[in-house]
C-alpha cells in the first residue's frame, strides 16, 4: 500500500531477490506436507500388514481374506459378475434418495417460518421421529414398495428427511428478526421476506447437514438391500455371506467403503462451494 522508505533508504519494490518466506507460512506448508505423507504411510502400512499377517497365517485368511485375494475376487466379479450393476444400483438409489430426502426435509423445515404455532406443534414430532431407529422400518417399506429399486430409494429418503428438516428448522429459528423488520419496513410482502431473507439465512444450516445425510442415505439403501433385494452391493454381501464366500463379502465391504468415501468427498466439496457461494467468507450463521 504505502511506499514508505526502508531503513537503508531503499524503496518498497526493490526487495532483495532471496527475500525470506514468512516463518508462519513455511510452518504451515511443512505441516501440510507431513500430514499428507503420514496419511499415505498409514494406509499402505495397513494393507501391507494385512497381507503379511494372513500369509504368515498369524491371522486366519479364511475369515479375514487378504488384500490380494480381495483384489482378485473383485476383478473376477467386475469382469464376469455383476459388480458394476450392483455398484450402480446402490449408488443411484442412494443419490436419488438423498436428493429427494434433503429437498423434502428442507421444504418441511423452511415451511415452519410461516406459522409459529405450526412450527411449535411440529418440533416435538421431528425430535421424536429423529430418535426412532428408522432402519427398523425397512420391512414395512419393502412391503409397501416391493423388493425393487423404489423401496431402497424410499428408505434413503426416510433417513434424510428428519435430520434435514431439523437443520432447516434450526436455521429458521436463528434468523435475525431485524432483517425481517427491515424487509417489512421496505413494504415487502411475506413472500419477499421468505425468498430474500428466510431462505438465504437457513441455507447454510441445510448445507451443513448434507455430509451427515449422504452417509445416512447410503446406510438406508444398504439395509434395504439386506432385507430384500435382487440387486445392489448390500444384497451381494448378504448372498456371499450365506454361501460362505468370505472373499466376496470383503469385496463388498471394500467397494462400499470406496463408494461412501467418494460420495462423502463430493458432498463435502459441494458444501464448501455452496457455503462460499452463499456466505462469501462472511461469518456463517450456521454451525
Amino acid at each position: 500500500m504505502a511506499t514508505h522508505a526502508l531503513a537503508g533508504g531503499a524503496k518498497v519494490g526493490a526487495f532483495p531477490a532471496e527475500l525470506e518466506v514468512d516463518e508462519e507460512e513455511r510452518a504451515r506448508a511443512r505441516t501440510r506436507r507431513y500430514s499428507t505423507i503420514g496419511r499415505w504411510a498409514v494406509g499402505i502400512a495397513i494393507v501391507v500388514l494385512w497381507e503379511g499377517l494372513t500369509r504368515l497365517n498369524i491371522v486366519d485368511p479364511y475369515f479375514f481374506s487378504s488384500p490380494v485375494l480381495i483384489a482378485q475376487t473383485a476383478f473376477k466379479d467386475a469382469t464376469a459378475g455383476s459388480l458394476w450393476t450392483d455398484v450402480w444400483f446402490t449408488s443411484s438409489a442412494t443419490i436419488l434418495g438423498f436428493i429427494a430426502g434433503v429437498s423434502l426435509g428442507a421444504a418441511i423445515g423452511l415451511s415452519t417460518w410461516w406459522s409459529k404455532v405450526y412450527g411449535n406443534v411440529l418440533e416435538p414430532y421431528l425430535v421424536m421421529f429423529n430418535a426412532v431407529p428408522k432402519l427398523a422400518l425397512a420391512p414395512v417399506l419393502i412391503i409397501i414398495f416391493g423388493i425393487g429399486f423404489s423401496s431402497k430409494v424410499a428408505l434413503a429418503v426416510l433417513m434424510c428427511v428428519v435430520p434435514t428438516a431439523i437443520a432447516a428448522y434450526s436455521g429458521i429459528k436463528s434468523i435475525d428478526p431485524d432483517l425481517e423488520t427491515l424487509l417489512f419496513s421496505l413494504g415487502a410482502t411475506h413472500r419477499h421476506v421468505f425468498t430474500k431473507v428466510v431462505v438465504p439465512s437457513a441455507l447454510p444450516w441445510i448445507v451443513s447437514s448434507l455430509r451427515i445425510n449422504i452417509g445416512l442415505a447410503l446406510a438406508g439403501t444398504i439395509v434395504g438391500e439386506f432385507v430384500a433385494s435382487q440387486n445392489g452391493v448390500g444384497r451381494m454381501i448378504l448372498y456371499a455371506g450365506q454361501t460362505m464366500d468370505i472373499n466376496l463379502v470383503w469385496v463388498g465391504v471394500v467397494v462400499l467403503s470406496i463408494v461412501a468415501m467418494v460420495m462423502f468427498w463430493c458432498v463435502s466439496s459441494l458444501e464448501k462451494r455452496l457455503l462460499k457461494g452463499i456466505m462469501h467468507g462472511a461469518q456463517t450463521s450456521g454451525r
Binding site: 435475525d176 431485524d178 432483517l179 423488520t181 427491515l182 424487509l183 417489512f184 419496513s185 421496505l186 413494504g187 415487502a188 419477499h192 430474500k196 431473507v197 438465504p200 452463499i278 456466505m279 462469501h280 467468507g281 462472511a282 461469518q283
Partner: protein, 266 residues
C-alpha cells in the same frame, strides 16, 4: 419566509400496553409536525420511546391513540410509506453492496436493470465506487452505514427516518459521516427525522431538535437551530453552537437523572 408546507404530522400518538399484569407506558401523547425538507432530530435518554415512535411512523407498530398524517393522509399501519433506516444498518451478508442498495427497489418490483441504473450515479457520487461488488463484511463500519443510507434514500420516499445511524461508529468516522449525510440530504431534498443520543450531532445536523423526556416519553422541549447552512465542522466551536449545547445539556441532565432512577427502581 415562505409558508411552510407540513410534510409529516404526528397527532397525539401514545403507546401503552399490559405486560405481566403491569401497565407499560412506552410513549406519552406526542404531537409534532415536520415541514417539507426539514432536518429534525429527536434526542432523549435511552428507553424514552423514540424507537416506539419511529416504529409507529414507519407503520410497523400500532399506537394506542393518535394518528400519523403524511402528505395529507393517514399512514397508520402502512409499512413502506416512509424510508426507515434501523439502528444496525442491516445489510444482508450474502448480497453484494450493489444488491443491498437496490433491495428496496427490488421489493417494489423495479426491474434490476432500472434499479442499477438509478443506483450507480448515487454510488459514484457518495463515495462507494469500487465497492459495488464487495460484500458487507469486507467494508468498514462507516462504509456499511453509507451503503444502508443509500439504500434508504434510493427507496425513494420523501420522508426518511434515521434511528441512530452513526451510533456504532468511532468519533472520527462519525464526523465524516455527518457532513456526508448533510450533502446527501441537501442534494436529494428529503425530509429527515433523526434519532440520536449525541447532542453535538443533533445540533450540527438539524433545523430543529425535539427533546424527549424519560419514560413515559413525551416531547419536553422544541429547540430551533438558527445556524446558517451549509455547515462545516468549524461551526461546532462557535458561541451560538456552544450556548445551544449548554441549553440542551441542561434539559437532558434532568431527564437522564430520571431515567437512571427509574432503572434503579425497576
Amino acid at each position: 419566509m415562505t409558508p411552510e408546507e407540513t410534510k409529516l404530522e404526528v397527532r397525539s400518538v401514545s403507546k401503552y400496553f399490559r405486560r405481566d399484569g403491569k401497565i407499560v407506558h412506552a410513549l406519552d401523547e406526542t404531537s409534532l409536525t415536520v415541514a417539507r425538507g426539514r432536518f429534525v432530530s429527536i434526542i432523549g435518554p435511552s428507553g424514552c420511546g423514540k424507537s416506539t415512535l419511529f416504529n409507529v411512523i414507519a407503520g410497523l407498530a400500532k399506537p394506542s391513540t393518535g394518528d400519523v398524517i403524511a402528505n395529507g393522509a393517514s399512514i397508520l399501519g402502512k409499512p413502506g410509506y416512509v424510508g426507515y433506516m434501523l439502528q444496525k444498518g442491516l445489510l444482508l451478508p450474502w448480497r453484494t453492496i450493489l444488491d443491498n442498495i437496490i433491495l428496496g427497489m427490488e421489493v417494489r418490483d423495479v426491474p434490476r436493470k432500472t434499479a442499477i441504473a438509478r443506483a450507480m450515479p448515487l454510488i459514484e457520487r457518495y463515495g462507494l465506487t469500487g465497492f459495488e461488488q464487495h460484500y458487507p463484511h469486507e467494508l468498514s463500519g462507516g462504509m456499511r452505514q453509507r451503503a444502508s443510507l443509500l439504500r434508504t434514500m434510493l427507496y425513494d420516499r420523501d420522508i426518511v427516518l434515521l434511528d441512530e445511524p452513526f451510533g456504532a461508529l468511532d468519533a472520527q468516522t462519525r464526523l465524516i459521516m455527518q457532513s456526508w449525510l448533510l450533502d446527501v440530504w441537501s442534494d436529494l431534498q428529503k425530509t429527515i427525522l433523526f434519532v440520536t443520543h449525541d447532542i453535538d450531532e443533533a445540533i450540527f445536523l438539524s433545523d430543529e431538535i425535539h427533546v424527549f423526556s424519560a419514560r413515559p416519553g413525551r416531547i419536553k422541549a422544541r429547540i430551533d437551530v438558527p445556524l446558517a447552512r451549509p455547515r462545516t465542522q468549524d461551526d461546532v466551536t462557535t458561541p451560538e453552537f456552544t450556548s445551544l449545547k449548554r441549553k440542551l445539556l441542561d434539559l437532558l441532565a434532568v431527564e437522564a437523572e430520571r431515567a437512571y432512577e427509574q432503572a434503579a427502581l425497576a
